[in-house]
């Protein structure tokens, strides 16, 4: 027989001023099972809490109802108090007399009557509460970071420095990502490589970091603290251990005409190549699509030349499976191609380039060694037009969002151009300038005021080629939409930031949700910006949304901190409000009939199959089992189960049913 204690809080005047708390306490005393019912000014105060603790001992209470504010406010407070008195904390429930009663109703009989009902409901619930134990899930203290750009490198370093092993997986042959392609960075104009490469090297050398470049995630199973990730290590055709990175093969490769992706197609490379001089690891890879041997079956020149015999034409992809406890997604972004702009020549005009191509032109390590030469004829461009918001904030291009970084890098580009091309003219067409960030607006003003870049508020309607020049037609909306026609030698489109190739497929592999543009979705836009809806998987950088380097680095460290916190204990503790499948002694075993209709209803893949076996090992029946590590406690499976074989702790069928029966 239950012995319930009820504690009615006045919350000063907040409840007491509207609800007749004494009467509520008295009425509750008449409920079977209630052995103690009192009211008090402030239950959450120390004396209030001690009052509860004392009553638990004195009246040997089996359950406690605190009728006060919203459980969303003080449930933890009172459950702790109850626990300190030696009662299982989950035997304490709250009735919401403040937010749901005294604050929203007038003083009077009906309000007190409602208060009494709300308390009775909770009394009937708590009579059926079960003592629950928090769920302990073991944690594999090794992290997997997907993506070797600045976000992934930062996250990997932070986790590694916290003392945990990290596997850093990068799909291209070298880590570094987009940042390694940049010339200078805003707002300081310091050289991107100069600040990035040390980090790349540090990552490569770090005892806790295992680099897997030229590799991709094949599949993922498991759950927080207990993932199994299978990684495909694509065949480099080069033995990384033997290769010294001497570079002989790359210089001697007869095949020279392959567009260099790192330089955004502004230069060419061989079929065996190192993406860029500072690549980490600095080991070449054979581009099988373009290698003469793979096309004709003849050549193998590199193999003959290699002093250490590191070339391996027989090398195959290999699959490695890793146990990891947490995953950081840092797969980055891609830029919208210039070919998406019919009005700007479908990317057919050599001198209409995108922002990243400009970075390479401006980069000291780029195809022009940093000299301003336009792609078509290598002539230094005397007039350059920069078009911001190319594709961004443009529904017709399927990108309603702002790409965030373009305003800043366009200002930077214009400046770099002016610094390199004295006397050159730079125009920037813009919708509006978004330069909020430390020293950002100052930076843009410098471009306008000191480097006198001409900013024109308006859109570019059309660009076409005319005798070796590009005619840019736009309008200046600050001058009543005055038509502008500029003859330019080069045009730079600040094209939209888009989600990385294959993001959707990857999200589905990971059961991470994503937005309509395939950027990965955070668990909560405000309070869980680095978590995903899948526990144990975190986000860093532009795979979530467009953002710049400092933000990316900050978020990467945030994600790393989440991982470090998870790894701080060898077991992770979760609220026991999870679903459980009914179990019974033989010959019934379980009320579950094994139809598994619940399985597809679960958003967390928490429902597994369990075979109930006889002594001889033969399967008697297969029933559902809820993995408490994965279950989030929504209870959708409970409502789906016809035989009521699944129930949810803390909101059990018996509890809810009793609540209804009280009204």
């Amino acid at each position: 027989m239950s012995r319930i204690g009820v504690f009615i809080c006045h919350c000063g005047e907040n409840i007491g001023g509207t609800v007749d708390c004494a009467r509520v306490a008295e009425a509750t005393r008449a409920v079977p099972g209630v052995v103690h019912s009192v009211d008090y000014k402030y239950m959450c105060s120390d004396p209030g809490q001690s009052m509860i603790k004392a009553a638990i001992a004195e009246h040997r209470l089996t359950g406690v109802v605190v009728a006060a504010c919203s459980p969303r406010m003080h449930e933890p407070t009172f459950r702790n108090a109850v626990a300190e008195a030696g009662l299982n904390p989950y035997l304490c429930e709250m009735a919401n007399l403040r937010e749901h009663c005294s604050w929203v109703h007038e003083k009077g009989e009906p309000t007190t009557a409602k208060a009494i009902d709300l308390v009775r409901v909770m009394v009937e619930k708590v009579k059926r509460n079960q003592p629950l134990q928090p769920i302990q899930v073991p944690v594999t203290k090794r992290a997997l970071v997907l993506g070797g750009g600045i976000a992934g490198i930062q996250a990997a370093l932070d986790i590694a420095n916290a003392g945990h092993p990290v596997v850093l997986v990068e799909k291209s042959p070298s880590i570094g990502g987009h940042m390694s392609q940049l010339s200078e960075t805003f707002p300081t104009l310091d050289c991107s490589q100069c600040i990035l490469t040390p980090r790349m090297v540090e990552a490569a050398r770090h005892p806790n970091i295992t680099l897997m470049t030229y590799a991709e995630l094949e599949s993922l199973s498991g759950f927080i603290g207990n993932f199994q990730a299978t990684i495909r290590r694509k065949a480099r055709q080069v033995d990384e251990k033997l290769c010294t990175g001497c570079g002989l093969c790359t210089t001697k490769c007869p095949n020279k005409k392959i567009p260099d992706a790192f330089n955004e197609g502004l230069s060419t490379r061989g079929a065996i190549y190192v993406p860029f001089p500072q690549a980490v690891p600095n080991k070449p890879v054979i581009d099988k699509l373009n290698c003469t041997f793979y096309k004709t079956g003849k050549c193998k020149l590199c193999e003959k030349l290699c002093p250490t015999g590191a070339i391996r034409f027989d090398q195959q992809d290999e699959l490695v499976t890793l146990d990891v406890g947490a995953i950081v997604l840092a797969t980055g972004f891609k830029l919208m191609g210039t070919d998406q702009f019919p009005e700007y020549g479908y990317g057919q005009y050599k001198d209409v380039i995108d922002g990243m191509q400009f970075e390479r032109l401006a980069s000291a390590s780029g195809p022009t060694a940093g000299a301003m030469k336009r792609p078509s004829d290598g002539k230094p461009p005397e007039t350059v037009v920069f078009v911001s918001c190319s594709g961004s904030r443009d529904r017709s291009k399927g990108v309603p969002y702002c790409s965030k970084i373009c305003c800043m890098y366009t200002a930077k580009h214009a400046m770099l151009y002016k610094h390199k091309q004295h006397g050159g003219k730079a125009y920037v067409f813009y919708m509006d300038i978004r330069s909020c960030g430390k020293d950002y607006d100052e930076f843009v003003r410098r471009a306008i005021e000191e480097d006198d870049v001409a900013y024109i508020r308006g859109r570019v309607s059309r660009i076409y080629e005319q005798d070796g020049q590009l005619v840019v037609m736009g309008a200046d909306t600050l001058q009543g939409g005055r038509p502008m026609v500029i003859k330019a030698d080069m045009v730079v489109l600040a094209t939209a930031v888009q989600s990385q190739e294959g993001s959707e497929a990857l999200a589905q592999k990971l059961h991470v949700s994503y937005d309509p543009y395939h950027f990965f979705a955070e668990a909560h836009p405000k309070l869980k910006p680095v978590e995903t809806n899948t526990a144990g998987i975190y986000l860093a950088g532009t795979c979530q949304a467009p953002r710049d380097i400092p933000e990316t680095v900050a978020q990467a460290s945030g994600a790393a901190a989440k991982v470090a916190a998870l790894f701080a204990k060898s077991e992770l503790t979760r609220e026991p409000q999870v679903a459980v499948v009914n179990r019974q002694p033989p010959p019934v075993f379980s009320r579950c009939v094994g139809c598994f209709l619940c399985q597809s209803a679960c958003a967390y893949q928490a429902i597994e199959q369990e075979q109930i076996k006889a002594r001889d090992g033969s399967v008697i029946k297969t029933v559902a089992r809820v993995n408490p590590g994965l279950c989030q406690g929504c209870g959708t499976c409970v409502a789906t189960c016809r035989t009521k074989a699944i129930d949810i702790q803390g909101f059990s069928n018996e509890q809810i049913f009793a609540e209804i029966m009280t009204l």
């Binding site: 209709l597 619940c598 016809r642």
Partner: protein, 264 residues
């Protein structure tokens, strides 16, 4: 070849341990019949109404071994749905259908069953459709009165549940007593909640064989309730129970753009 010869063959070759068909019953009626020997197989034929799929999930029948089942489309739909719900294995049943030319054909695989069904459109019998339309045309109060009158005659013998191929749960909601979801007694509330719950539990799972209504000793058209639930699943989500052995249960899946008109 008729069912009885086919049955003899299958039993003699040992392909199946029992053949489930129909035989002559009381007062010129037909009834389900099991044949486990060639002799018994003699009286079997396809002619009969009950949905024989309701037998294949019974433990007494499972113990017999592989059974051949005289199958009409509702039976095939039920078998496929049962496979989707992991209650029956493809290799445990051998559905037999009668071709237009009288030949008996084996549909040994789920795929064969699916293909066969694809050719036989599913539709509610005209009389039932008529009654459903009549009810739909009534006012809510009239419908209430109609069902209260009908259900007042329910004695909760559970003939409907026992005859339903999809009511295979060993432990039905009706038998749950902590809490006692549905009152056991056959009073007005117990009857209403029983039939309401059954219909909801068959939404997206009802193969529209109408056996529940056929089984009712007092003649309550309860099959209309499961028909209604199944039809609104089909109308709103485009899913049909028993179309495939692959689980596709409308009520444990969703589309973000499901269209409703009543949520504020």
């Amino acid at each position: 070849m008729e069912l009885n010869e086919k049955a003899k063959q299958l039993l003699e070759t040992g392909d199946v341990k029992a053949v489930l068909g129909f035989e002559a019953g009381t007062q010129g009626g037909r009834r389900p019949a099991f044949a486990r020997s060639a002799a018994r197989a003699e009286r079997l034929s396809f002619e009969g109404e009950q949905n024989l799929a309701s037998y294949v999930t019974r433990k007494e029948v499972k113990r017999l071994g592989r059974v051949a089942v005289a199958a009409r489309p509702p039976v095939l739909r039920a078998l496929l749905q049962l496979m989707a719900e992991r209650q029956v294995k493809e290799q445990d049943v051998l559905p037999l259908v009668q071709e237009a030319d009288g030949q008996v054909r084996e549909l040994a695989t789920a795929q064969a069953m699916e293909e066969y069904l694809a050719l036989s459109p599913q539709q509610i019998p005209a009389a039932d459709r008529e009654l459903m339309d009549k009810l739909a045309a009534m006012s809510q109060q009239e419908r209430w009165a109609y069902w209260q009158d009908q259900l007042s005659r329910c004695i909760k013998c559970y003939a409907c549940r026992s005859s339903c191929p999809m009511c295979y749960c060993e432990h039905c909601t009706m038998d749950c007593n902590r809490p006692q979801w549905v009152p056991v007694p056959s009073h007005a509330l117990g009857n209403l909640e029983y039939h309401m719950t059954r219909a909801m539990h068959l939404a997206g799972r009802c193969v529209e064989c109408g056996d529940c209504g056929r089984a009712c000793p007092v003649g309550i058209p309860i099959h209309l309730l499961t028909f209604n639930a199944e039809e609104s699943v089909h109308a709103q989500f485009g899913q049909r129970a028993g179309a495939s052995a692959k689980l596709d249960y409308a009520l444990s899946t969703f589309r973000p753009d499901d269209k409703e008109t009543f949520i504020r």
